[in-house]
Symmetry: C2
Subunit: 216 residues, 2 copies
């Protein structure tokens, strides 16, 4: 039994190349979880087979821009002429339904989210060593030395934001990392700040009627 029944917004982030996506995947492959993705909102055309509200929320450009003005996105960006964003109200609905909503995003997006949802749980995935990350960035493909250098520099900047996160999880082994994140989610539901309201409901007022209850 957990006191806190609302879902938690879990933000998984970390320096480029650390393997956030793989960790997130391992997390969703675990048994007995109650995790869900947030559904993004977009202005691009719906493709055959896509379902509104499942793959994306499809809206017009005007609607999207109105939502930006009203500060209704956790984060949003423009990509090849279309908008993409995470709608705050939809995420809140999922959380109210008791689902843990997992957002896997870049460092800059993650810090935006923390401002809008202060009680989200911020998890920073890190490599077992700096060199391990460099090796990954270099193995990624056929890019020129310049591109690799830019990536390394980006990762080095991103390494510095760790103190802004609630937890630091080492991606030495992807299942270990996923396992630790599951422990974090379980633990967070028991945190006093999340549980105290429900606790007071549970025990009621503590100094009235105590005698009446004894005789039952």
């Amino acid at each position: 039994m957990k006191l806190d029944e609302r879902g938690i917004l879990i933000v998984i982030s970390g320096p480029s190349g650390v393997g956030k996506g793989t960790v997130r995947q391992a997390l969703f492959n675990m048994k007995g979880h109650n995790l869900t993705y947030s559904v993004s909102m977009t202005t691009r055309k719906m493709r055959p087979g896509e379902v509104d509200g499942k793959d994306y929320y499809f809206v017009t450009k005007e609607e999207f821009e109105q939502r930006i003005k009203e500060d209704k996105f956790l984060e949003h960006a423009e990509f090849v002429g279309n908008y993409y964003g995470t709608p705050l109200d939809k995420v809140n609905e999922q959380l109210d339904n008791g689902q843990e909503v997992v957002l896997e995003i870049e460092v800059n997006g993650a810090l935006q989210v923390k401002k809008k949802v202060p009680d989200c749980v911020m998890i920073f995935i890190v490599p077992p060593s700096k060199q391990a990350l460099y090796d990954r960035l270099m193995k990624r493909g056929t890019e020129s030395e310049d591109v690799i250098k830019q990536r390394v520099e980006k990762a080095n900047r991103e390494f510095k934001v760790a103190p802004k996160y609630d937890y630091i999880v080492v991606n030495d082994d992807v299942n270990n990392a996923a396992d630790r994140i599951m422990a974090i989610i379980r633990a967070e539901h028991a945190r006093t700040s999340r549980s105290i309201d429900k606790y007071y409901e549970l025990i009621g007022e503590t100094d009235e009627n105590s005698e009446e209850n004894i005789g039952n």
Copy 2:
């Protein structure tokens, strides 16, 4: 791999009759843990079969009182003419060795411990309902109604300290509760405040020599 290798002081407390001892026992019965008890210090005589430093640290009354003066106890009490206490330096040695030290104590003692070891993890065990606790307190034995009434009143006072704890864990099922405490311990090791020093060691300075490392 966890960044934070020092053990954590886990304080398990809660209102009288909630079943702290049973939860603690279930916790120690779990597999793969690294939990240990703290060894108490006492002025009472060593009994046959007891081992100094294992069952207790046996010291003289003078030594104990000197330690009280020097504020070297996490908490201490007098019982039937003898002192009993938890020696802070010994607990720190265990923590330095990477062991998680579990203290199961009454509410008043727990709040003392928090003051002396601010980075301990305070866990408040609560019953699934107020009535469940009353039922337990009444079943406990053959005590008079007056004694039961006193216990209920004590529990009602103790219910109110919950906000001073880091976590609230419901003892609806003893194994569930133990399981959640294990998750809390795992999660706490990943907390940024506990991990950040080791993290900086791991990644070193982030803006020097990054280019040199690329070519390897």
